[in-house]
């Protein structure tokens, strides 16, 4: 959209902004304010009811400049509904499996996947390591991520990422993300934390998008496939966040039963939205408990069983990160990991040793060592 004006969303002709905030349409030679335009649409406006097929691409005035990357996963609410009707099993089944089986069954090459986490907290690392071991490639990734994104990118398994933040806060940047982006080996689309979570929320609501007031005016918006439009009720400009349905999501929880009911202690990040915005959901749990735990306190259930496809028992499953209230972050391990991550060879050696060099999560825990793990256990106040 240049300085001189923009293109009418309905007739496709140029319109110019006037001094008093109105728009002058070059085709119809009338001046109207944004509000009037909403009350009385352009003469060429076609109501949606008369069109049998929705346009694949939004009209030009609503599209952002061409710097925008493509949508890595297109919203498809009806496809999602049909999947939930035809493919998802809502019966009360025992879903307890090994991480090998969970990943083999529910994460496929080319899938759009995501892991729930905040920084190094409660990231399902045991499942991430299994994805690396099984070399599931061409993944598209929801990149509110950190060590999950780093491991998968370093292993060459990620083609595209919807990124919000990949960084180690007090410990600085991710050397792996830096190398991949600076070498151009991964495609990115930029989002804010709220935006990506609201994308999940839109999917969870069964909608194609949610409007929001964030990201507007920024380059973050220009480098995302989000769209802008005027709200038909108030006339205010809004960003439209496309719903994000994951092919597979992985969430690490404090406790689950074999059917997949889950409790999370403390903050829940985006676990609630993500668990309802995915086709397949793998749960890894610190502890497997009896279903009575949930029936006694049903208000504590963050994720009910029917959303879940697989349950994996993974004590210390977030290591070297932390699970709030149970164990602290392994600072020494993370520092040495970041040291390795500084070079391509270093991270390859790290993955060879701690990921590919162990058969499964049990083997990983043995490698880290019981004494070390015990020293990370949290006291009564964390």
């Amino acid at each position: 959209m240049g300085k001189s004006g923009s293109v009418c969303a309905d007739c496709g002709w140029l319109e110019q902004k006037t001094k008093n905030g109105g728009r002058f349409c070059l085709k119809h030679a009338v001046t109207r304010s944004d509000k009037e335009l909403l009350a009385e649409a352009c003469a060429d406006f076609k109501p949606l009811e008369t069109t049998t097929v929705l346009p694949a691409q939004p009209s030009p005035a609503r599209a952002l400049p061409t710097t925008a990357p493509p949508l890595f996963q297109r919203p498809d609410p009806d496809g999602f509904r049909a999947f939930l009707r035809d493919e998802k099993d809502f019966s009360l089944n025992d879903k307890l499996v090994t991480e090998r089986e969970a990943v083999k069954r529910f994460i496929k090459p080319g899938d759009y996947i995501g892991f729930e986490l905040y920084g190094t907290v409660r990231c399902p690392m045991s499942i991430v390591r299994e994805v690396v071991r099984q070399k599931i490639s061409r993944l598209r990734l929801m990149g509110q991520g950190l060590m999950d994104a780093d491991f998968l990118i370093a292993a060459g398994l990620v083609t595209d990422m919807d990124i919000t933040y990949v960084g180690y806060e007090a410990y600085g940047l991710s050397p792996i993300l830096r190398r991949a982006v600076e070498a151009g080996s991964i495609r990115l689309a930029e989002w804010s934390n709220a935006a990506i979570t609201w994308r999940l929320k839109a999917a969870a609501m069964g909608l194609p998008f949610l409007p929001a007031r964030t990201m507007l005016g920024s380059d973050t918006l220009k480098r995302s496939p989000a769209k802008k439009m005027f709200d038909p009720f108030t006339g205010m400009p809004l960003v439209l966040l496309p719903a994000l349905v994951l092919d597979a999501a992985v969430i690490h929880v404090h406790r689950a039963d074999k059917f997949g009911n889950c409790q999370i202690d403390g903050i829940s990040g985006f676990a609630i939205e993500m668990s309802r915005a995915c086709k397949r959901l793998i749960i890894s749990a610190e502890e497997i408990v009896d279903t009575e735990v949930f029936r006694e306190r049903p208000e504590r259930t963050a994720i009910p069983y029917f959303l879940v496809d697989a349950v994996v028992h993974a004590p210390f499953g977030a290591h070297p990160g932390e699970t709030c209230g149970l164990y602290r972050r392994d600072e020494a391990h993370i520092k040495s990991y970041l040291e390795s991550a500084r070079s391509a060879d270093g991270i390859k050696n790290y993955l060879d040793e701690f990921v590919r060099g162990v058969p499964d999560h049990d083997g990983y825990l043995k490698k880290i060592g019981g004494a070390r793990l015990k020293s990370l256990k949290a006291g009564p106040h964390g």
Binding site: V121, E169, R178, E182, N193, R213, T214, K228, M236, P237
Partner: protein, 254 residues
């Protein structure tokens, strides 16, 4: 003691003083956490720190190392999720948002995405995280940064988080909520506000021992000066003691 005061300590003390009387504050990672913990201990017992992953109202007796870490909600009043706190900011609940950044321009726009051209960056930075949401949705944004010429630049490489964008009225035209935007910039050299009409960054107070010339030399854009420049006080012994002994004894951020 004064000669040993670090940049992070100066930033934290000035920012903590800005939180006097505050309630709802959105706290980003790094120095803002130090400032909030210091403010909670000395100046603002009613402070309600809000962290993006859902921690609300922690007294911050222990310093969070991450915005989703246990200490971000330890002994807090609520442990919620991203949606809850971001939606609160969007409907106008959060007064002040405290942010850091890699680059800033005279309109208070922040870059935490790339250094260099986007398609071929010299350095890929972490990305927006919650920063864009804080800068878009909180009533006032307070930015904490180390003052260096390479960070205070005429044109930032990427507008991750909106300040006043291209000038007066630009936020509103873009659709951001009215009456929002950067309020103060706190650096190790001084304190800055934004001119009420032109929305350009303006020096309003100098830190002890800092000259206007030095601030100008460390700023890559034409800096406006307030008619009367105030002097920030040095961090007090109590502030330093609290920061060093109680808040960050392991010196993670200090």
């Amino acid at each position: 003691m004064a000669d040993e005061i670090s940049a992070a300590e100066r930033l934290a003390c000035t920012a903590a003083r800005l939180m006097k009387g505050s309630t709802t504050v959105f706290i980003g990672t790094g120095v803002p956490m130090l400032a909030a913990a210091l403010a909670r201990a000395l100046y603002a017992p009613g402070l309600l720190p809000i962290f993006e992953f859902g921690g609300v109202g922690s007294p911050l007796e222990k310093l969070p190392l991450g915005v989703g870490e246990f200490n971000s909600f330890r002994r807090g009043v609520a442990a919620l999720g991203i949606c809850d706190v971001m939606e609160a900011a969007q409907r106008g609940v959060v007064r002040d948002g405290f942010l850091g950044g890699a680059q800033i321009d005279s309109y208070g726009n922040l870059n935490t995405t790339v250094i260099g051209p986007y398609a071929k960056p010299a350095v890929r930075l972490p990305g927006s995280g919650g920063a864009n949401d804080v800068g878009s949705l909180c009533w006032r944004t307070i930015i904490l940064m180390k003052h260096e010429r390479k960070r205070f630049v005429e044109k930032i490489d990427f507008v991750t988080t909106p300040g006043y964008l291209t000038g007066p009225g630009a936020r509103e035209r873009a659709g951001l909520p009215p009456d929002t935007g950067p309020y103060r910039v706190v650096t190790d050299l001084g304190l800055f506000d934004f001119e009420p009409t032109a929305k350009r960054m303006r020096l309003i107070a100098l830190n002890p021992g800092v000259t206007v010339e030095r601030v100008v030399a460390e700023t890559g854009f034409k800096l406006k000066l307030a008619e009367r420049l105030a002097r920030n006080d040095d961090p007090t012994p109590l502030e330093l003691e609290t920061l060093r002994r109680k808040i960050d004894p392991e010196r993670v951020f200090l």
